[in-house]
């Protein structure tokens, strides 16, 4: 990936005042955002996938990204922990401030960034190791060696992911023996084992049945006390059930962003209305 040095990072104090010229369809007035995205554009080669996106993500809330398949939800989500850096034909312009500081700044250590901003994918991807090892892996990488401390982290993470009661007697069994829903909760436990601030979830329920989905959604409600969650979902019902704020993306642009109830009851943009009432294209 290349980050052009001409990247228009707003100088300190010059961040556009949210109150000045704010578009109510794009700015629900987030106080104390954990992320501020400024004019973010992304190209895969010469194909532009994200167009000039500016958005503020609220702390300790669930924000959902919705939109038709291919509109750039996953691409956008991967920007927050610089996962697109792993691809080599990607160009990013604009900036993302995390706790007020650019995630693209040379001082940012990518591993620290990814520890603080964890990710859960659509296909649950436990390591072919024991349940215990799946959770302990991250903390070990980040230097935790003490066995008792690791035990604590494993238990705390599994409890937080509402999985402890189901697996506490078989922590050393292979994680691949868990059901799909359990594997996905294990991945969430693994993400929070390293005590991140943010968990990004990319369609975490799309391979799960309704009951397992409900458990993950319930878990998300519990987690937002301590974490900021951003979820990409193709299910508008899921977005309206779980999220506090919803962003609608279309063709790589942010069309509308607002309080979830508001967006689903009375969207401000016709494109949003057409999409969520199923009259698209």
């Amino acid at each position: 990936m290349t980050t052009p040095d001409s990247m228009p990072v707003p100088p300190k104090g010059a961040v556009p005042d949210a109150a000045a010229g704010r578009d109510p369809a794009l700015d629900p007035g987030i106080e104390d955002p954990i992320f501020s995205v400024h004019g973010l554009s992304l190209h895969y080669g010469d194909k532009q996938a994200l167009h000039d996106i500016s958005i503020e993500i609220p702390r300790n809330r669930i924000t959902a990204f919705i939109g038709p398949s291919g509109c750039g939800k996953s691409t956008f989500l991967r920007c927050f922990n610089r996962l697109n850096d792993l691809l080599d034909n990607v160009t990013i312009r604009g900036d993302i401030l995390f706790e007020g500081r650019s995630i693209f700044s040379p001082e940012v250590e990518i591993n620290t960034l990814r520890r603080r901003i964890g990710m859960v994918f659509q296909k649950s991807n436990p390591f072919p190791k024991s349940i215990y090892e799946n959770i302990a892996y991250g903390p070990r990488i980040h230097g935790v060696r003490d066995r008792r401390r690791l035990d604590e982290i494993v238990e705390r993470s599994l409890r937080a992911a509402a999985l402890w009661d189901e697996v506490k007697d078989r922590l050393h069994d292979n994680a691949l023996g868990l059901s799909g829903g359990q594997q996905q909760r294990l991945c969430i436990a693994r993400a929070i084992a390293v005590e991140p601030d943010v968990v990004l979830l990319d369609e975490p329920c799309s391979a799960l049945d309704p009951l397992a989905t409900a458990r993950i959604e319930e878990l998300m409600q519990d987690l937002k006390e301590n974490y900021t969650l951003i979820i990409v979902t193709h299910s508008m019902q899921q977005a309206s059930r779980v999220s506090d704020y919803t962003a609608f993306l279309y063709l790589g642009r942010l069309i509308e962003y607002g309080v979830t109830e508001q967006l689903f009851i009375k969207p401000r943009k016709k494109e949003t209305e057409d999409y969520i009432t199923g009259r698209f294209g």
Binding site: V259, F264, I265, K266, E273
Partner: protein, 236 residues
């Protein structure tokens, strides 16, 4: 459009057309009730009361359709607002049907008594109420929030006519005790007709919600997003 999308659209269409049929029947019921009053026609009054079952049947059908649509399609945005409005208008219209029947009951009772020069213009008041209802339903069909607001503004007039009628009827009772029961029946009718204006106002508030997504009933109360009224949790 996929087959499901078509079915969804048809379902919303059907709710709309059934609601309009119901509106037509309800308007006709009021009109006939006023005719029965003017002509002292107890039989016509009975026919209006008998016809109320048709209105009730439509109410059940619309309820059922609305419920099915909610369950199957979980509508959002304008479809959701339409459905919420339609289902409440359904209830409001059924109530107006009941009111027309109540007017007819009082008309039948009045037919048993000697004619009376009442100090209230029942047909005039009734036509005002009917006009409000008609314009409310028009505003719904055309999705016109301004027209709905204009109808709401007319409700006050009906309230004033009713207050005046109460005062005049009370005076009539004092002046001529033999007319007491007829005066009381007329008071009821005045109250019923005023209620029709209220129902038309409800419908118009729903039209504004449907079009603009804003709730305008009880303007002095607002609701927090958790559904409680501010201050309802014992705030100082």
């Amino acid at each position: 459009m996929t087959r499901l999308e078509r079915h969804y659209a048809e379902q919303l269409e059907e709710i709309s057309s059934k609601l309009m049929r119901m509106g037509g029947l309800v308007e006709q019921a009021i009109e006939s009730a006023l005719d029965a009053y003017e002509r002292r026609d107890a039989e016509l009054a009975q026919r209006v009361r008998d016809a109320d079952v048709e209105i009730n049947r439509l109410e059940l059908e619309i309820d059922q359709l609305g419920l099915e649509t909610l369950v199957r399609y979980q509508p959002a945005a304008r479809d959701l607002r339409f459905l919420i409005a339609a289902m409440q208008i359904n209830t409001d219209l059924e109530r107006v049907g009941d009111i027309a029947s109540n007017v007819c009951k009082r008309v039948q009772e009045l037919c048993e008594e000697p004619p009376w020069e009442a100090p209230i213009d029942v047909p005039g008041m009734g036509r005002l109420a009917l006009r409000m209802l008609h314009d409310a339903l028009d505003a719904f069909v055309s999705g016109n929030a301004d027209a709905a607001r204009a109808v709401i503004a007319r409700d006050e007039q009906l309230d004033e006519i009713m207050e005046q009628a109460f005062a005049d009827l009370l005076q009539a009772m004092r002046d001529d005790t033999a007319a007491t029961s007829r005066a009381i029946r007329h008071s009821f009718i005045a109250k019923y007709l005023e209620r029709i204006g209220d129902q038309a106002t409800n419908i118009c508030e729903l039209v504004v919600f449907m079009v603009e997504g804003t709730v305008i009933k009880h303007p002095r109360l607002t609701v927090e997003s958790d559904g409680t009224a501010p201050g309802s949790r014992g705030a100082p």
